[in-house]
Symmetry: C2
Subunit: 335 residues, 2 copies
Amino acid sequence: MGRLGVDLYPLQSGVELARVETFGKFLGGSPANVAVAAARLGSRTALVSRTGADPFGAYLHRELRAFGVDDRWVTDVAAYPTPVTFCEIFPPDHFPIHFYRRPKAPDLEIHLHELDLPALRAARALWVTGTGLSAEPSRAATLGALRERAGATGDGTARAGAAGSDSAVPGALTVLDLDWRPALWDGTADDARPLYREALRYATVAVGNLDECEVATGEREPYAAARALLAAGVRLAVVKQGPKGVLALAADGTTAEVPPLPVEVVNGLGAGDAFGGALAHGLVAGLDLETLLRRANAAGAIVAGRLACSPAMPYAEEITLALDTGDASIPDHPR
Amino acid sequence: MGRLGVDLYPLQSGVELARVETFGKFLGGSPANVAVAAARLGSRTALVSRTGADPFGAYLHRELRAFGVDDRWVTDVAAYPTPVTFCEIFPPDHFPIHFYRRPKAPDLEIHLHELDLPALRAARALWVTGTGLSAEPSRAATLGALRERAGATGDGTARAGAAGSDSAVPGALTVLDLDWRPALWDGTADDARPLYREALRYATVAVGNLDECEVATGEREPYAAARALLAAGVRLAVVKQGPKGVLALAADGTTAEVPPLPVEVVNGLGAGDAFGGALAHGLVAGLDLETLLRRANAAGAIVAGRLACSPAMPYAEEITLALDTGDASIPDHPR
């Protein structure tokens, strides 16, 4: 549930935006990419989002369907155009993003009263993002969806649920991707923190990098941040430490930590979404924490080694191959 | 003076935006293109405009200079990104445009008090557009520049000036391109009309198509519209009638009418700007009305026969060639 737009990516790498001559057009928006990534791994996925009533919106519907993502809950908004996003690609670690999401992105016009609550309850996992908390009515819709999943009666207790005893998170799966994008918020991190805390009361899994953990919890030391996320209410905290790998702490005391997988970085954008898609897919599949983290980590590394984002999401066999060989540099599959 | 942005044009023609895979990036914005077109013909030109403080803004500065347009009066605005515009290309007559200029384009943040009035007075011609009237502070700046050129003391009399007796418009040249773009105005045509009337009091030349003439004057029959523009204060009215050619009426009773020049249309966008650049260049050169109109008309037709806009603006020899052969289909020059 959340962000959806058109990414315009340079067809030249290592070139500043001022000098890029041609751009390719791709489906983008973090949770949309996560849905694509999970679908590619075999999950049955759907996106809850909105677009402009325009040709780019039509493109996104077509593209979601082509990726196997159910688009029935993607509706259009007459007042705003479909957002476009430009990026610059300076490997290995500089990928500036330029958003055209003002005055407001259609995906922030998701209304609580328009949500399909039975479908939200029935889903085996729900993925929401911090950016969904950045403005109304999306903020109320995102928090409302989290509460609905938690079956909250006001005490903030997450609903007990289904999955098996081996799984990293028993019970209902509701993932909050902290996804702190200051450019997309009007206020400061201090304004965002109470909203993160509210969302964390109802989510069962939280995912974020160190900057995002600090905004949400005030902590940026990985273990302290993970513990703070658990204390805020989730059952599993996943902390992305960049070059230091990924750390996960579960409420039952289980921990896992995996190092980064070597890859020649082509474009770091989309790697986090590949990680997220594999995480969601693995959580639903009931993988143990170590396997879950290894596979998500490999999925992210594979996409970092490819130019595209949504079309570059890996197949399960590619993740297995990367883990078997210890090398995530796997050429992009022809589309 | 006015609009400036990045045009993202499909590198495929005849394809709806949803299916365009790659885009090329070009300098765009009507008055910016007019400046480029006049520069290509040999005029010394400058643009008064603004961009975002971003990589696309840097690109536009570089591109203006490469085209020989003085960019010293193009400044940046921190609050808004450089506008981008997408188009679709369905020859011969359907070229939908999708603007990303909200919440506001930097080029509408031109302030009257920041104008270089001595430079504005010294220029041999000033070109402004109706879109410049669409929002403050650009509205006050555009009207202020027109008044400054007219040396108005409140009576609305245009300043008498330089050029020779053969020229289509004796005296100071101040062109108002009616440029009615409903998508870029908050209000209706009825809201715009008084602003057009005010601008026409101070301009010496008005240019527009039939729709634009109707918004500005209430008339859409070509002769009636031209007479209404003259009555509103200009000395030369140029009415673009599309497939019926171009009509011009001067205050001294001179008239000229030229038929369209045959061309296989590739992309109609930019043709009006090529026409405008050749018109401004020819007015400054003091061409007689018939020659002026024939050359502007040929310039427009040449660009309609090319995919690009700003880079496709014709050289003087190409205009002469089109007029000599009676065929405007002249392949684009290599850049």
